[in-house]
């Protein structure tokens, strides 16, 4: 896989070569000179699909924060959970009593262990993001150059739409990511490395996306010519789908220009012919009945109820008769009843992790919206990702 700095050199050198009728070898040599001028640090390579951080210190700090997060979610989280049970017991409240979220918060928010657990999570998350922001924004010239070089390269194409009017619901700093998905030139970079920490090391090679793509149901007639990943982020699922369906025309769309730009960079690195475009899920600009499969990866819990309804309607328009619509997201059907501590954590996630829309996602009736739009919905199989919801919809033929 080509490293990103060589990409910069190749892009610039090929431009020179074409305009000067230079040969390929000369362009290659020039690329090398441009990518690695004397006295600069060489890129640190890839660990399979993941480009290593630019320096060891950053890599080590992020590694440690991920470890802290794992410990805080594990040992400290279990202690906090047990403490919540003790508090309920001391107040004579049965453990299985379904408290309101406000009651759960009031009961638990001042306990020192629970508060410490919350603070630990928050501090680690803030430190993770601030480290990434410092690296990418502090070296903006380098990272922008890499994206600019890739912008013009294939095999897939990139469409940025500076005039796209973004609805407010997409502008939040979800997961407290600095600038969210739209407000930083390096939203894609930060999202990639930040979510790797969320997955605590289990997705460095897009394992969850590859698994989801491999489990994706196909239309009964077996025809898979065109696929769309809505809210594709940095394109992990779209790329995995292209790997599974190499002959299909695969698209990823997202409202975040920096997200699709980074997705395109990754597709160039990996030589995968996927098109990424900055568009709205509510207004995809594709013809009626165009796609055999339309999907999304854990997107809808970050969409407003109004946006959700509009996107489902749009999906119905662009999926062809007999085609599949599978928006993968958190479990809605058969989700476990939430404990008082679970309610408290749910609030923490919503209020302080800035998961603005998650709580509404749980109650907005997405399965019913899908049925009302006209799809046949199967909520039993197949499961794309273990523990997540099943929404396998087919547009009637």
């Amino acid at each position: 896989m080509m490293d990103r700095r060589t990409l910069v050199g190749v892009g610039a050198a090929l431009t020179t070569a074409v305009s000067s009728f230079f040969g390929g070898r000369k362009a290659e040599a020039k690329a090398k000179d441009m990518a690695y001028p004397k006295g600069t640090m060489q890129p640190r390579g890839h660990v399979e699909r993941l480009e290593r951080f630019a320096n060891l210190s950053l890599e080590s700090r992020q590694d440690f924060l991920m470890s802290f997060r794992t410990w805080a979610n594990g040992d400290l989280g279990r202690t906090a959970n047990a403490r919540a049970d003790e508090i309920l017991k001391s107040k004579g409240i049965p453990k299985d009593n379904q408290l309101s979220q406000a009651e759960a918060i009031e009961l638990l928010k001042d306990d020192p262990i629970i508060a410490m657990s919350t603070r630990g999570w928050c501090s680690a998350q803030q430190l993770m993001w601030s480290g990434l922001k410092e690296e990418f924004e502090g070296n903006a010239d380098r990272y922008l150059s890499e994206m600019e070089a890739a912008d013009k390269m294939g095999p897939g194409k990139l469409e940025l739409n500076a005039n796209l009017k973004l609805p407010d619901y997409v502008k939040h700093e979800i997961h407290i990511q600095p600038g969210g998905y739209v407000g930083s030139e390096f939203a894609g970079h930060m999202y990639h490395y930040g979510t790797n920490a969320f997955y605590t090391g289990r997705n460095f090679n897009d394992e969850l996306h590859v698994g989801s793509a491999n489990n994706m149901p196909i239309p009964k007639d077996g025809k898979v010519m065109r696929i769309l990943d809505v809210g594709c982020g940095i394109g992990q699922l779209a790329l995995a789908l292209k790997e599974r369906f190499p002959n299909a025309e695969v698209w990823g769309i997202d409202v975040g220009g920096p997200m699709v730009r980074y997705a395109h960079l990754r597709s160039v690195e990996r030589g995968l012919d996927v098109n990424f475009s900055q568009r709205l899920g509510e207004d995809t600009q594709f013809p009626d009945n165009y796609f055999d499969i339309v999907t999304s990866y854990i997107m809808f819990h970050e969409v407003s109820p109004e946006g959700t309804a509009a996107q489902v309607k749009e999906a119905m328009r662009i999926v062809r008769p007999g085609g599949i619509y599978y928006p993968l997201d958190f479990k809605l059907n058969g989700a476990p009843r939430r404990t008082a501590y679970g309610m408290y954590r749910g609030w923490m996630d919503h209020r302080w992790n800035n998961e603005v829309w998650t709580q509404k996602f749980r109650t907005n009736g997405l399965p019913d919206m899908i049925r009302k739009a006209g799809f046949d919905l199967n909520e039993k199989e197949p499961e794309l990702l273990r523990g997540f919801g099943i929404l396998n919809a087919t547009k009637p033929a």
Partner: protein, 117 residues
């Protein structure tokens, strides 16, 4: 390395966003105590970064007999090293921070007299 264009000449893709307010969250009753907690976690990350560098330096010196910044930065650990270092990292996090999970339900106020027989 990168062609040093002015930022104004760059292709931009970002747009306006709605800023969150988590930076002003107080969970421990006093924002300065919250800040201290962030400092403590950040210090752990800094110590781990130095420890990793030291480990790689030691390894390079013992196997190659010399070390340069480039060699340290470019070093790719073996799978065995990765597993061993990850275990050590997780053990360090647990060792350093486990006090956060101690039972504080019997915490006593500063001015409380202790009764002796």
């Amino acid at each position: 390395m990168a062609d040093e264009k002015k930022m104004g000449e760059r292709t931009k893709a970002a747009s306006d966003f709605i800023k969150g307010d988590t930076d002003s969250a107080v969970f421990l009753g006093n924002p300065h105590i919250d800040n201290l907690m962030t400092i403590v976690i950040a210090m752990g990350a800094e110590i781990w970064a130095d420890r990793q560098r030291m480990r790689i330096v030691e390894h390079l010196l013992s196997t190659k007999g010399k070390v340069t910044t480039e060699m340290i930065e470019q070093y790719v650990p073996t799978n065995e090293q990765k597993a061993a270092w990850a275990a050590e990292r997780d053990a360090m996090a647990k060792r350093v921070y486990s006090v956060m999970a101690r039972d504080t339900s019997g915490a006593k106020p500063f001015g409380e007299e202790r009764k002796f027989n």
